[in-house]
């Protein structure tokens, strides 16, 4: 204790200087947009690399399990190809407007209010913000930002994620939101009360947002009711994607996204 005190008294100038210099540096990064952007990008890249090495270590350990899983997935895909019934497959094949890029999830948070994922493809693989991310089971989320080798993804289970969805059987559409509690349930709003609903109905993406292709599975209806005086249902949808087990995902590149965005812009301008 005494030696620490002695050290502090002896080096008070150095300590005071370091304190102020660090304070100034932090202020600089916080207050200047350019410096902030550069350091955020740097930190993204740095944390991305740490996550990546951790991931490759885990991947090395899990090789056998992964192989099994991949074999299973391969088999499933072959079956789909034969049947051509799967929505994802048919969309990719019939319209040629979408490209798929395979990526690995190297970091995922599931239990926070603002969950996010990091995947190991970035702007070098021509990924951009606002691209859709899906997996064999269904919707994963939307890319928020990219660095050269990594991208952050806002998943369905983030309170800021709003995804345009529709019910497969009767085509009525609404918006999915997440209330931040249960990581396997999202809420579907804006479905009018007069629509007939059944438990287990499939909810798919509507394709209105120009981000997701139409017809990607979001989940199935697990509960619905309506409050007195409201015109809309409160619908709970059980998500088909298991976020805590995510590994391989596909990033969807919509070749017509710019065109669709532009036409939506002209509509806004007219209004």
């Amino acid at each position: 204790m005494r030696t620490i005190l002695k050290f502090i008294i002896k080096q008070h100038n150095l300590l005071f200087f370091l304190l102020i210099a660090i304070f100034c540096f932090v202020l600089t990064i916080r207050n200047n947009d350019y410096q902030k952007a550069v350091s955020v990008k740097f930190m993204d890249e740095l944390t991305g690399n740490v996550h990546n090495s951790y991931y490759s270590f885990i991947q090395y350990i899990n090789t056998i399990n992964e192989n099994k899983k991949l074999a299973n997935e391969n088999a499933l895909l072959r079956k789909m190809l034969l049947n051509k019934k799967d929505s994802l497959q048919t969309i990719i094949q019939t319209t040629n407007n979408f490209d798929l890029i395979v990526a690995n999830v190297i970091y995922a948070s599931v239990f926070k209010a603002n969950n996010y994922l990091i995947i190991n493809k970035g702007s070098n693989d021509s990924l951009k913000p606002d691209m859709a991310v899906i997996c064999p089971e269904g919707v994963v989320g939307i890319i928020k930002s990219t660095s050269p080798h990594f991208s952050t993804v806002i998943p369905l289970i983030n309170t800021n994620a709003h995804i345009s969805a529709r019910i497969k059987t009767n085509k009525y559409f609404g918006t999915t939101t997440w209330d931040g509690t249960n990581s396997s349930i999202v809420n579907l709003s804006d479905i009018p009360y007069h629509v007939k609903l059944h438990m287990g109905d499939t909810v798919i993406t509507s394709g209105f947002s120009a981000i997701f292709p139409e017809g990607i599975t979001i989940g199935t209806i697990s509960h619905f009711d309506y409050s007195e005086g409201s015109d809309f249902y409160n619908i709970e949808v059980k998500i088909s994607t298991q976020f805590s087990k995510l590994d391989y995902v596909y990033v969807v590149k919509n070749k017509l996204q710019n065109e669709l965005k532009e036409i939506q812009k002209t509509i806004n301008n007219v209004q």
Binding site: N13, C24, F25, N31, N32
Partner: protein, 172 residues
């Protein structure tokens, strides 16, 4: 002595105004941007404890930042320059040390000494400042060129100030 402190305070404010309203608006040849407010740090008395010099350097830097809207870039650079001042003074110390009741000016010591002393602190300050401003090492040569020419102009301006305000009398 009280007169002495008073002149330091006046210099503090005049240099901030000069920096913010005149020099920050001039960018000669797109590359030269002099920063002369460190003149205040250069002229602080020898007797001040180092920790106070660090603090006063921070104070003038952050004041310039507040006016220029560049919070903490200048403060960062001038804090480092102020911290380095005692070491540089030691480096260029005359054989028998600095005289009592003297000040770090051309009037007390010769112009060679003053240029060496001022040049080191100016270079430290400008290097930190411009590298913090560009914040990357992609265009290093450009940044270094900017540091050298800006330091040269700052130094010339500060020598002129020495001759205008401090040469004739041995007062501060």
């Amino acid at each position: 002595m009280s007169n002495n402190i008073f002149s330091h305070i006046i210099r503090f404010f005049v240099l901030i105004l000069l920096q913010v309203y005149v020099l920050n608006n001039i960018l000669f040849f797109n590359i030269i941007n002099p920063y002369v407010y460190i003149y205040f740090i250069l002229l602080l008395p020898f007797e001040l404890p180092p920790v106070l010099i660090t603090f006063l350097s921070f104070l003038i830097g952050i004041s310039v930042d507040f006016f220029a809207g560049t919070i903490a870039i200048n403060a960062f650079a001038s804090t480092i320059a102020g911290y380095m001042r005692p070491f540089i003074l030691k480096l260029f110390s005359p054989h028998d040390g600095y005289e009592k009741n003297s000040a770090p000016t051309i009037a007390f010591y010769n112009i060679n000494w003053w240029i060496k002393y001022a040049m080191f602190i100016t270079l430290i300050h400008h290097s930190v400042l411009f590298f913090t401003e560009t914040f990357h090492f992609h265009a290093v040569l450009y940044t270094i060129a900017k540091i050298i020419v800006s330091s040269a102009l700052s130094l010339i301006l500060m020598i002129l100030m020495q001759y205008f305000f401090h040469k004739s009398s041995k007062k501060l």
